[in-house]
């Protein structure tokens, strides 16, 4: 047999097209609204098939083989388990919060904190389901069970990160990624996450520099305040107060600093992804990703701006018309006599239309370009070693991503 793979480096093509995605996302989103959300399992399945098949390492598309009905089943299982927990826990928290603290804020805080472990657990399970239903060159990916181990580690890492004021954030990123990666498989071959957490440290600089500058500026302003006040109040000095800049103008520096920090967060996410990917291996195969943080930020900002514009242009006149009709109802003896239910229905339709356009257009203008950017800058190195890999057995995993779905673990697709 002649070996089919002669190339060592596999580049990734991206075959996604905006119009095709638009129609699929719009149609399935509409069905989801019309079926009060039941169709979302089909919507997510179909969208994933489209996205997965657009990503083609070495020219061969990924395949998503998850089924809508198994998602529905997993969701039902999760509802049975969680309904009890959520119902009783919320009720008890409400009682405790008003009995002991005489306010509702504690309820929200506590019920939020109570859901965090479940939320992290659900995220790992969802990752397991998605990997188990992803194939490339017909070979299945997989993730070994370990959601509770992931959940308690994640909580500890979060506590450490918070206690160290974010200094050990990269340590959390690295160890959590290592936990999942070391349990991930492609066929019979296990992935391995190499490297050390300190290699991510440099990527946090764009967060730290603006934060330190802002802190310095804040301290300087605070230190000056009594002086400035004293100068102003000094009855013996009638000279003009000679501050280098009026106080309120220097506050403007916080704007570019917070924008810089925002970029810093995107920078960290993109760079840490790049570094971690570079240190992943799959037997003799290694991976490389070279996404560009500035490009990612630009795609995000310009994409959301486009979405907003595309929605605002047609929707603003509609809202205007609705408000006009609403107001004209209040004027007695007006010719326009629209029943209240019709107005309410029109407002509801408008709400769902905005929601539908938002979810559809974010796919078209944000998710698709981002996926394309990440995909086309991803390569598989030393692909010859893939020939030592065999198919793995199917992970039945009846619960699918039910917990993630019921708990609303924010997954775009």
């Amino acid at each position: 047999m002649k070996p089919a793979m002669t190339e060592t480096v596999l580049h990734t093509d991206f075959a996604g097209r905006r119009w095709r995605l638009f129609w699929l996302a719009f149609r399935t989103g509409l069905f989801t609204i019309l079926t009060l959300g039941i169709y979302r399992f089909w919507m997510r399945t179909r969208l994933r098939r489209l996205y997965w098949s657009a990503v083609r390492p070495g020219g061969h598309p990924l395949e998503y083989v998850g089924a809508p009905l198994e998602k529905l089943l997993g969701f039902l299982v999760a509802v049975v388990v969680l309904a009890f927990y959520i119902g009783i826990v919320n009720l008890l928290l409400m009682f405790a919060s008003f009995s002991i603290f005489e306010g509702a804020s504690v309820v929200y805080g506590a019920s939020f904190l109570g859901v965090i472990p479940l939320w992290i657990f659900a995220r790992y399970r969802a990752r397991r389901y998605i990997l188990a239903r992803t194939r490339w060159r017909v070979v299945r990916f997989g993730l070994a069970p370990g959601a509770w181990g992931y959940a308690w580690r994640a909580i500890l890492h979060w506590l450490i990160t918070i206690l160290t004021l974010g200094l050990l954030w990269p340590r959390m990123t690295f160890w959590l990624e290592k936990y999942s990666t070391d349990r991930s498989y492609f066929g019979t071959q296990r992935f391995a996450q190499g490297g050390r957490w300190t290699m991510l440290w440099r990527a946090t600089l764009h967060v730290w520099i603006p934060l330190l500058l802002a802190a310095g500026l804040g301290l300087a302003l605070l230190a000056e305040m009594p002086t400035a006040a004293a100068t102003l109040d000094d009855p013996y000095t009638d000279a003009v107060v000679d501050l280098p800049l009026p106080l309120d103008q220097r506050l403007l520096f916080f704007i570019p600093l917070s924008l810089w920090a925002l970029y810093g967060i995107v920078h960290y996410r993109v760079r840490s992804f790049e570094i971690l990917t570079r240190h992943k291996s799959l037997g003799g195969v290694s991976l490389a990703a070279e996404p560009n943080p500035r490009r990612v930020l630009w795609i995000g900002l310009s994409g959301y701006l486009l979405v907003l514009l595309a929605i605002a242009l047609p929707v603003t006149p509609l809202i205007g018309a609705l408000v006009f009709v609403e107001v004209s109802q209040m004027v007695p003896g007006d010719a326009l006599d629209v029943p209240r239910w019709a107005l309410a229905a029109a407002a509801a339709v408008l709400y769902f239309l905005i929601f539908l356009m938002w979810s559809t257009l974010t796919h078209v203008f944000v998710t698709l370009p981002l996926t394309r950017h990440y995909a086309t800058r991803f390569t598989v190195q030393n692909a010859d070693a893939l020939s030592r890999i065999d198919q793995r057995a199917r992970d039945e995993f009846a619960e699918a991503e039910g917990f993630a779905d019921a708990l609303d673990v924010g997954a775009a697709i």
Binding site: L69, L76, A83, N90, M94, V139, W341, S387, A406
Partner: protein, 374 residues
């Protein structure tokens, strides 16, 4: 539609190139494709391997493929093997290429669906109410008060249509004094440590309700609709009945338990919160029929002991029924009650023989109460 080009009686010979994956290893194998017209089989000849024969009627397309350039097909019953073809001629030759796979685990699915609906129903209708009833007894008065304040703020914000300020409470001093005077008539019938705060909200809805911690809230519309102060006093007595039996507290605890469960069901559908709000409105547990009858009974007793006519409650119910044509009034928990006629009759009968009544307010006070929102 077919893309076959017929030349005489012989169809064009199908001959194409494809990439074959056997499903065992991540190895793309170049293959030649042809069709055995006699047997209606696709013949796949992978380089260096034995040919495979797939019946044309059993070939299925892998759906929702991006790009449109590649046709990915599989063989029915084989979960892993794939064939990637770069032309689309094959589509027309496979009669059932888009047939869906049969639904698996049908009974398991149905079973879990029933279990999910049953457990949610059980939790919302049995478990949460039972626990709420128990817990409502143990919540301390300060906690109850805080719960009432929070709920009142939420209601005032939710009912505001301008989107700017919560709807106002009416505080005209003379009206306030009249309302206090009316409330004072019932002090004798209240438990000693029961706080009571009566408020009027500036909103045309014809309704009144009680909140945890001894709040009774009237909407302006109800005072506008009433023709005598005794009718307002009768509604007040009814709501005090709810306050005394802690119905609002139970109700608030119940909805805290059920709203999270409903949130589970709807997931992230359409922005979540709005739908959740609507759903909660739909299933919002009315006070039970027994709670309404008990509050009525409390009201008859309280009115009688305060030298006021219990029949005024019947008059108010009738007025509410007449106004029922307006949709907002339907929201009122009076209106949605099916046994209204019975309650009217009961209220009319509740006046004892020879009851000496004293007016609850004089004309000037009644005028002041009607102007409390001006």
């Amino acid at each position: 539609m077919t893309t076959r080009i017929e030349i005489g009686r012989e169809p064009a010979r199908y001959d194409s190139a494809a990439t074959f994956f056997d499903g065992n290893a991540p190895l793309p194998v170049p293959a030649r494709l042809s069709i055995d017209e006699e047997a209606e089989m696709l013949v796949i000849a992978p380089e260096g391997r034995a040919p495979q024969r797939w019946p044309l009627s059993e070939i299925r397309r892998v759906p929702d493929q991006a790009g449109g350039d590649l046709l990915v097909v599989r063989l029915r019953g084989d979960p892993v093997a794939r064939l990637i073809v770069e032309d689309h001629v094959l589509i027309a030759r496979c009669p059932h290429i888009d047939r869906r796979p049969p639904v698996q685990n049908r009974w398991k699915l149905a079973g879990w669906a029933v279990a999910a609906v049953a457990s949610v129903a059980l939790i919302i209708t049995v478990l949460v109410p039972a626990m709420a009833d128990q817990l409502a007894r143990y919540i301390p008065p300060e906690g109850e008060r805080a719960l009432g304040e929070t709920t009142l703020t939420q209601i005032r914000e939710a009912m505001d249509e301008t989107g700017m300020d919560p709807i106002a409470t009416c505080e005209a001093p003379a009206g306030r004094a009249a309302l206090d005077r009316m409330t004072a008539r019932f002090h004798a019938v209240m438990p000693a440590d029961q706080p009571l705060t009566v408020l009027v909200l500036d909103h045309p809805m014809i309704n009144a309700f009680a909140l945890p911690g001894g709040y009774v809230v009237f909407f302006r519309g109800l005072i506008d609709t009433a023709e005598t102060p005794e009718e307002v006093a009768a509604v007040l007595a009814h709501e005090i009945g709810h306050v005394v039996s802690r119905d609002p507290t139970r109700h608030a605890l119940r909805s805290a338990g059920s709203i999270g469960v409903l949130g589970l069901l709807f997931g992230d559908f359409a922005g979540g919160t709005v739908v959740l709000f609507l759903a909660e409105r739909l299933i919002e547990a009315q006070y039970s029929q027994q709670a309404e009858i008990d509050a009525d009974a409390f009201a008859y007793d309280a009115l009688t002991r305060a030298d006021l006519p219990p029949a005024a409650l019947a008059t108010m119910f009738e007025r509410l029924r007449e106004e029922g044509g307006e949709p907002p009034a339907i929201l009122s928990h009076f209106m949605s009650h099916p046994e209204l006629t019975e309650r009217i009759t009961a209220a009319e009968r509740a006046s004892p023989e020879g009851l000496e009544t004293r007016p609850v307010l004089d004309d000037a006070e009644w005028a002041a109460l009607q102007a409390i929102c001006d």
